[in-house]
């Protein structure tokens, strides 16, 4: 068996030797950390493992998700799994999709200076500053589209000099867009009506009264799209 290649990384300032090619999360576990928080889906979707790091000889601050990013030689890293963020409470049905709604729940969006640090830190590569700019001028549709891939890791919030909670503004815009702006699906409403009026009752009752053998045959013989 070939020898395992190892790399040195620094977790919160302490050096560890970990196997090359593993994710930061695996590397931390290899180093002895046990995750109670700061770890969720391990698939890059839940946003629980936001991580910041620097590389030797490079002034830039980098970011990534610990469950997705490979540990590299010389990485100085720290997880920021949680960052304090206020969240407004509202009844979506009662809100109107306009600027005043955003300003009522998150008035701090107008403090944006345009420094763009939120965009730079976003591990999803979103144009965070641009969706806040859109929200700030009541363009809810644009804010909803630009923030669509947000996983709410909160790294943007940790960097904002205007103390904006970007991801909560983003989800408010997506909710307003989904509930109040996009046209309702007509075919869905029609189908719901058909179900309510009992169009499928006879067919369903027939299925319910079948035995297992009969159902299996029906399933095996069903029309299949090629």
């Amino acid at each position: 068996m070939p020898e395992q290649k190892m790399v040195n990384i620094y977790i919160m300032g302490k050096q560890y030797e970990v196997p090359a090619g593993v994710t930061i999360m695996k590397a931390m576990e290899y180093a002895g950390y046990q995750f109670i928080r700061g770890c969720g889906c391990r698939g890059g979707f839940c946003g629980a493992c936001g991580t910041v790091y620097r590389k030797p000889g490079d002034f830039r601050l980098y970011s990534g998700l610990a469950c997705q990013l490979q540990a590299e030689e010389g990485m100085y890293l720290s997880q920021i799994p949680f960052y304090p963020a206020n969240r407004s409470t509202y009844d979506l049905q009662e809100l109107t999709p306009e600027l005043s709604t955003i300003l009522k729940h998150y008035p701090e969006v107008t403090r944006c200076l345009g420094c763009n640090q939120c965009t730079k830190i976003c591990p999803q590569g979103l144009n965070v500053m641009d969706y806040i700019a859109a929200a700030q001028r009541g363009d809810i549709e644009k804010a909803a589209h630009l923030s669509f891939d947000c996983i709410m890791c909160g790294l943007c919030v940790s960097r904002c000099p205007a103390e904006i909670v970007h991801y909560n503004v983003g989800i408010l815009c997506r909710r307003l867009y989904g509930r109040h702006i996009i046209p309702k699906a007509q075919h869905l409403a029609k189908r719901v009506e058909e179900i309510k009026s009992g169009k499928f009752d006879e067919e369903l009752n027939k299925l319910m009264s079948m035995g297992q053998e009969e159902l299996t045959k029906l399933y095996d013989d069903r029309d299949m799209e090629q």
Binding site: L99, T110, C112, L113, G114, C115, N116, N127, M129, D130, I132, A133, Q136, R137, G138, D139, P161
Partner: protein, 287 residues
């Protein structure tokens, strides 16, 4: 070819009539505007401290993004946006430290190349006031108009370089004349309306606004024009409050210059956005 255009936040919310009437009137004269694909708030006010670079970053980015379009110019109509963008551009051009700080932070090469132009300048320099005379209808003919510049368009003179006479600009009067309307002699034209002090010292602003309004009426004006959403709001909305307390007060419509010009060019009413005004200007523009 379309000129890059920065609308500004207020034109997407409270002053949509300024946005739509600017686009429509310029289009009617063959000048197309192309909104920048992504833009943020300009910062609203130019920082009082010279080394408040953070307050200039947003404006600098907007100017840099505009410089990447082929035209070389950037049009903006809101007086506040125009003031901030022009002053930040001036600082980048003339102050090496400001230029270095901003371009290093933004990681861009830029030395103030973007030429910021106001639609009034586009009308004067690209369309031409003489050419305009042949294109207008009779709707505003003979209408007496007070041209209100406020603070932001022409001051500070050395940085704004807006008109030959910063304390007595005449570009709007020339435009009004070209429309066939009649500019009145209006001594309050560059007086401050009180701006956002309306939030803090309301009574003082009411007093100031009333002085400006009555100055316009005394000059024989039937309408006031401006390019500033905040001036428009203060001069328009406060009239309701004055009239509530003094029934003898004579109201006067306050329009954006683009709305008046649009009416003279038969721009459709829905693009002029005349429905949001407190003092209804529609009767005035029936022609």
């Amino acid at each position: 070819m379309a000129i890059p255009y920065f609308p500004g936040c207020t034109l997407k919310t409270k002053a949509t009539g300024l946005d739509s009437s600017t686009r429509a009137t310029l289009a009617a004269l063959g000048v197309e505007l192309a909104e920048l694909p992504d833009w943020t708030c300009c910062g609203t006010v130019f920082p009082l401290a010279q080394d408040n670079y953070m307050g200039m970053v947003a404006a600098a980015r907007i100017l840099i993004n505009a410089s990447k379009e082929d035209d070389g110019r950037l049009v903006t109509v809101c007086s506040f946006c125009y003031n901030v963008l022009k002053r930040v551009n001036y600082a980048i051009k003339n102050n090496e430290e400001t230029r270095t700080k901003l371009t290093q932070y933004l990681e861009e090469e830029y030395a103030g190349e973007t030429k910021l132009v106001h639609p009034l300048e586009v009308l004067r320099d690209d369309v031409g006031f003489e050419a305009l005379q042949g294109k207008v209808n009779d709707k505003v003919k003979g209408l007496k108009v007070a041209c209100y510049y406020g603070c932001m368009l022409s001051r500070p003179a050395s940085e704004m370089q807006f008109d030959d006479e910063p304390e007595n600009p005449t570009i709007m009067e020339d435009l009004v004349g070209a429309m066939g309307a009649e500019p009145v002699d209006f001594k309050y034209k560059t007086k401050c309306c009180g701006s956002y002090q309306v939030m803090k010292t309301y009574d003082l602003v009411v007093k100031r606004v009333r002085e400006i309004l009555e100055g316009a009426t005394a000059s024989g004006a039937q309408a006031i024009i401006t390019s500033c959403p905040l001036c428009q709001f203060n001069l328009d909305w406060i009239q309701e409050k004055i009239a509530e307390e003094d029934s003898s007060f004579a109201k006067i419509p306050v329009l954006y210059f683009t709305q008046l010009l649009g009416a003279a060019l038969d721009v459709p009413a829905e693009e002029l956005g005349l429905d949001k005004h407190y003092v209804d200007p529609k009767a005035l523009l029936k022609g």
